[in-house]
Symmetry: C2
Subunit: 671 residues, 2 copies
């Protein structure tokens, strides 16, 4: 192994404190990942003490540099930095690592611990998040900076492990970042040659330098992760280049541990009391007492607070100057960073009338986006190479590109997973509301970042079109069946599947107003008839998740017909046919199960009174409807894959027509 | 544009026939992707006529070369090849492109069209499938070939589009293939500079050559996709190298079309009648009649049948020799390729007794795998860098590596998506039953290939461990909540979540016997008590999906308690407590919703008699249980994310204990 520096200078002591805290916290919890924090401690020292522009006293200062620990399992590295540099995180918090309601959970959680910029753990995500943060910085800088006023002027750093580098999402995000020449993005690849199963040689032989050079990144190397000067010099070089940079740092997992350094064992398990002791001795650490940080080491680290205060103050001065010189811009940036929507934006929402005729909800959505675009400049987004098909282009808003960071249309490329992960970074950065589009079936490619957006309560919007067998000829590989259920069960994701143009407008309204989590809009490829709201209940019912779109004659229904999206037309037609034969049917449009579930019991009972039998229909897996149809109810859905053919034929063959609803209702009620 | 060869030689005519069929089929369907087949026609000609060892008369000949069209949207390229070379696909089938029940669906579907080796369309998947096929070839060759008897001796080719190259799964699969030095794998990258949104420059600037060299591939270039000699020479070079090869072919989308060549428009839309006519004229095609293939061109292509028959015959001779020299091996290979399980394998299944004590179901699964390993050599697999945690290592079976293709333990790396996609290729190739493991929460990373396995009815087995908040300290990023529901709604996937060691054995039995689709085994990290089957019903009930594990006293229950996996212990305990206060409770273990749903109504009524109120509990999203608890039933589940803490604490805090079941049952029944 690399020889251990035993010099007792303050730098070494400070670095070893990170290692000690990591070892001790994992040991006390008897679970966690000590090896990587121990390896990364010198990098942490150089980065956090010499380069990272941050103020521990104000983790939400908008122009701070962002630090993303993509290797989230090494959470004790981040907690160590946060505690030592003086964030609002105590030594008791560290002692409480991985305990119920502690501020130091197993993996870093955004919103839970001050200074944690994003939730990481699922590998590869942090790389995408960092790219998204750099995107946001570049975009806001292009929009708001003025000569002599670099008011948006920060860097994004990330640390990636072998796992992050192996995951496909890192390919998508890095390729995207390279193409965009995001020079404010600096990544560290913790090249330790160890994964959980053992040596990386077991499964991984990439020349990562070549790979990232292929993406257009500058790639630098630090041969010894303990070489502070080499780390410092690499960061300087990274900052002076016009490309994003990857610094490959050769480290040794569990550095300092005489018996576990460079072993897979040190990856995800406590070292053991004895090895902890031996390591502290080997490192020449002044005390064996758990969680001991010598006063002088702490004082040294805490210098970060003073430096941070100075940096932020300097920026505040810049901000004052800027506010004087460009008051409108300052006010606008302030509004955007606070996440406040522009006044009067709802007035810009379009209305649709009979003269618009039949419209696909994707097309209606495109109109909403374009109506809002001029009034809501923070709305930015694009698609995974399906801009035209998903109707997500904002006219006259330009394309975000290396030559035009002010552009608002994002060409994410055929990279759904990367798109989701980059969107999370953009939202986390602040100042933007990102939307991202693809076909609904390909939401499967981006579930990990959707889940994280929901977990982190981020304001992202997914536009998922081609939402059923209604897409027709592309066939079963492109026809979603299970995706609606699979999205509806993600906690804190709101899924809305509007039935017509009017509901599409309302769906966007909900998605934009919502601030505590993501929304998925689920839209058709095929045209849907315009629902005459003079005759039927207003589309504003979308906000409550479900509403009686057409009541039964006489008020008391014999049967309730329920649906969402394109199949609402079928229940409206079925209702007519049933009423024509004297069966009183209520039609309920239910665009969002989650919004409806959140309504008071009284409203839910009003829409779906107990004791009335129910028929639900959706061109999708029936699973999510069982909660709502209850006993003896019927769900017409699909528990099979679709087929390639013109869509009208598929609907008919698979029994998802108004006549099928009528038949089911009659069988159910015996009327 | 590149000048169009107008020479009327037979080769050109044959190649243009592919273009004409693609144009005409898309035109007739008024949907589809004509541009890429037109560009790839020369490549198709060289590959299918000069290199691909295939026999159109016998698409299931085991030693055929495999061809994977990862760019599945270019399906008319493949259908063209299949028709022209004489597979069982008629010109009427081609005319019927994208119609109900036709054999030429929008994207190629395995099992639907003779000669289609895998279902493609979702981008990137075909690259992984091809890697899996090459893995299977290498493995079977290592096991079965003998000096002088190269009985397994074929190549795998794939065609990838920009989309395949951009998708993250291509990174994972290509990195894996490069590390394994799969020299029998040859890919073509259709470098046409066009995606749906426009020029690839919009979003894609990779140096793909450098990237693939970084993976350890040989990368070759063909500067002109119409240069037959250059294509031929590149394939020869690819075959002579010890690495996998990627041949980057510069093509022109919609080659031949005077007005649409090199445009995004030609990607996914019919060219239009007029442009079709102009193109045929421009190509000097002898007829404007739709679907016209000149007799001499067809005859030329159909030479493939004779060559194919000869090649297969030669192999049959080799096989006869091999069968004489190595009868046991021949018999064994024959058995494996037929997908027959070895006789008596079930005898190898372990039994667990009280003396085994508390066991995590992942550990029980590990014992099953190891008990079967010697008796079932086709069982191969591994994990996405979680072998130890998922208990998926087969002792003494060796690691599959570049130096040992006979190894049965696969180190898939931190590449869940790639793992799923490679497994599909392995299963499609035949001769292997692949299993792949990761934590349940990371099933999200690999949903696209799981879906395709289900759609293609492939025999793959997923081992998903750490299946709930029961994993404890790793926290919400690692604790699955919605994943069970999200898997249970995938059509044709069987999900089994066993309650103890005994049910784990039965779950494996089901998974191995099932031949028409994949199975996901969902297993705990934490230890579960051994369920005494002398006292409770036998675990063989797993095969029926749900069974009465403990009846109510007196037979007629006041309430039914239902659960799966680790929470079955809670219902057994709750049942005791309820019976103790005179409430008659039946406990139903329901490890597989899908298997239970497939039972006859009579059995389902027997297990869950109508009119008896039901309480279900699972440490997961409740959505999938509503179908089974019905009216007034209660589901104790989680509609929130978990937390980082020791797991016993999380269970208690989130209300998933026996006492919560008792309380719910009493409230529900009013007893």
């Amino acid at each position: 192994m690399t020889s251990v520096t035993t010099r007792s200078d303050i730098t070494t002591l400070a670095i070893n404190a990170v290692r000690v805290l990591a070892m001790d916290a994992v040991q006390k919890a008897t679970s966690g990942h000590p090896g990587t924090p121990m390896a990364l401690a010198p990098l942490g020292y150089v980065l956090w003490m010499k380069h990272l522009r941050h103020n521990p006293a104000d983790p939400s200062w908008p122009d701070r540099d962002r630090f993303v620990l993509s290797a989230g399992h090494a959470s004790m590295f981040l907690y160590g930095m946060l505690y030592l540099t003086g964030y609002d995180l105590s030594l008791d918090d560290i002692r409480n690592f991985r305990q119920w309601e502690s501020r130091t959970p197993g993996h870093p959680e955004y919103g839970h611990t001050p200074g944690v910029e994003t939730t990481t753990g699922p590998l590869g995500q942090g790389v995408g998040n960092a790219v998204g943060m750099a995107v946001a910085e570049a975009h806001l800088a292009a929009l708001f900076n003025r000569p002599g006023h670099d008011i948006v002027d920060h860097w994004t750093y990330f640390v990636a492990s072998d796992g992050d580098i192996m995951e496909g999402v890192s390919h998508e995000a890095a390729s995207f970042a390279g193409h965009l020449r995001l020079s404010r993005l600096i990544g560290f690849y913790d090249d330790n040659h160890i994964t959980i199963e053992g040596d990386t040689d077991l499964t991984f032989g990439d020349d990562t330098q070549k790979r990232f050079e292929g993406y257009g990144w500058q790639v630098l190397r630090v041969a010894d992760g303990n070489d502070l000067e080499a780390i410092d010099s690499a960061i300087r070089k990274a900052k002076s280049d016009a490309r994003p940079s990857l610094i490959i740092v050769r480290t040794h997992i569990a550095y300092g541990s005489p018996n576990k350094v460079d072993t897979a064992e040190a990856h995800g398990s406590a070292l053991g009391d004895e090895e902890v002791r031996l390591t502290k001795e080997n490192l020449g650490y002044p005390s064996l007492e758990p969680f001991h940080v010598p006063d002088e080491a702490l004082a040294h680290w805490r210098g970060a607070r003073e430096r941070g205060a100075t940096i932020q103050l300097a920026w505040q001065h810049k901000w004052s100057e800027y506010s004087k010189a460009h008051p409108d811009l300052a006010q606008e940036l302030h509004r955007r960073l606070k996440g406040e929507l522009p006044p009067g934006w709802e007035e810009a929402l379009p209305t649709f009338t009979a003269s618009d005729g039949s419209t696909a909800t994707r097309a209606a959505s495109g109109k909403v986006i374009n109506a809002l675009a001029p009034r809501m400049p923070e709305l930015v987004g694009g698609s995974a190479d399906l801009a035209g098909s998903t109707n997500t282009i904002m006219k006259d808003a330009g394309s975000f590109s290396a030559d035009n960071y002010a552009g608002r249309n994002f060409h994410f490329g055929i990279r759904e997973h990367g798109m989701g992960s980059v969107m999370n970074g953009m939202a986390l950065h602040g100042g933007l509301i990102p939307y991202g589009a693809t076909f609904l079936v390909f939401s499967d490619y981006m579930r990990p970042p959707i889940r994280l957006a929901a977990l982190m309560k981020q304001h992202t919007i997914y536009v998922f079109t081609h939402d059923s067998i209604g897409l027709g000829e592309d066939g079963p590989t492109h026809q979603p069946i299970e995706q609606l259920t699979a999205l509806r069960c993600i906690p804190n994701l709101t899924v809305i599947r509007p039935a017509d143009s009017g509901e599409t407008v309302e769906a966007w309204r909900v998605a934009l107003k919502r601030k505590d989590g993501p929304t998925a809009l689920v839209l058709t490829r095929q045209k849907l008839g315009w629902i005459d709201r003079a005759r039927y209940a207003p589309a504003s019912g979308v906000a409550r998740g479900a509403y009686v779109i057409a009541g039964a004659t006489g008020g008391k229904p014999d049967v309730i017909l329920m649906s969402a999206g394109s199949e609402v037309a079928a229940i409206l037609e079925a209702r007519e046919q049933l009423e024509a034969v004297g069966i009183h049917a209520r039609a309920v449009s239910m665009p969002s199960h989650e919004l409806f579930a959140a309504q008071p019991e009284s409203y839910r009972e009003e829409v779906l009174p107990a004791g009335v039998k129910r028929v639900a229909i959706e061109a999708a897996h029936p699973m999510s409807w069982h909660r709502w149809v209850m006993n003896d109810g019927v769900v017409l859905g699909l528990e099979r894959y679709g087929a390639s053919a013109p869509y009208e034929r598929i609907y008919e063959e698979l029994g998802l027509m108004a006549k099928d609803v009528v038949e089911a209702a009659r069988r159910l009620t015996g009327l």
